[in-house]
Subunit: 138 residues, 2 copies
């Protein structure tokens, strides 16, 4: 069963640069001209901005009582650059749910997310583990 | 060989809330009172903010000509909540460097990062792969 994101998220050049100034100040994330002469051949979003946007879409799209408490990432791959004006959408899939060993009042939800741009190219994939309160036990 | 971050990074309540409003709008990341009655027993930073701060420290601390181009994450674990006024520092370790199969003018650098707070508690661990241009080949 796949859960599509409730909407797509348009990434602007301004957001790419603002995020980079604060968290990933490398020339190809900050400036169009520097991007042109880099690996990316143009301005590209920090992969950590893409990961943050995916969390935003996840919070808007999956409604888990008590919230999604991140435990960790099993895998994350950046497959294609994210460019100004790209529209990102996600598909999430629950891979497994188990009771937490350390915290038996919580479940561990392992979920795979695939992130697409407006051309349906996969820009990122991830497998993330969340803790979710088990109903009636929190 | 371990590479300590060039500085520590102080996380404020304002930054925790600003990041959460934009990328992880869950009550325990947005509001002290909501945090108190949650899993976290207080306001806690989004794990994606911690990951972004770690990238900031990485960019300031490792100087790789041509930049660090993220390929992916092999593993990331959030071990302890990050709280307002925590000071984060990192230790990085290069696990391996190999020539990229797909892009022979690039190396793939696998690096482990351990993130500590001001009490030397480990708050996050990650293993991240970067592409770096090989000297004289870019």
């Amino acid at each position: 069963m796949k859960f599509p994101s409730a909407r797509s998220y348009k990434v602007t050049a301004e957001e790419i640069k603002q995020f980079a100034e604060r968290y990933d100040p490398q020339p190809f994330h900050l400036d169009e001209a520097a991007g042109e002469s880099s690996f990316f051949k143009g301005l590209a979003a920090s992969g950590w901005l893409t990961a943050a946007i995916v969390m935003r879409l996840r919070v808007e799209s999956l409604h888990i009582a008590g919230g999604m408490i991140g435990a960790g990432v099993d895998e994350m791959r950046w497959m294609q650059p994210v460019r100004p004006n790209d529209s990102l959408r996600t598909e999430a899939e629950i891979l497994s749910v188990r009771v937490s060993n350390a915290r038996p009042q919580f479940g561990v939800v392992k979920s795979r997310t695939t992130v697409f741009n407006q051309r349906d190219e996969i820009v990122m994939r991830s497998v993330v583990n969340f803790l979710a309160p088990l109903r009636g036990k929190s």
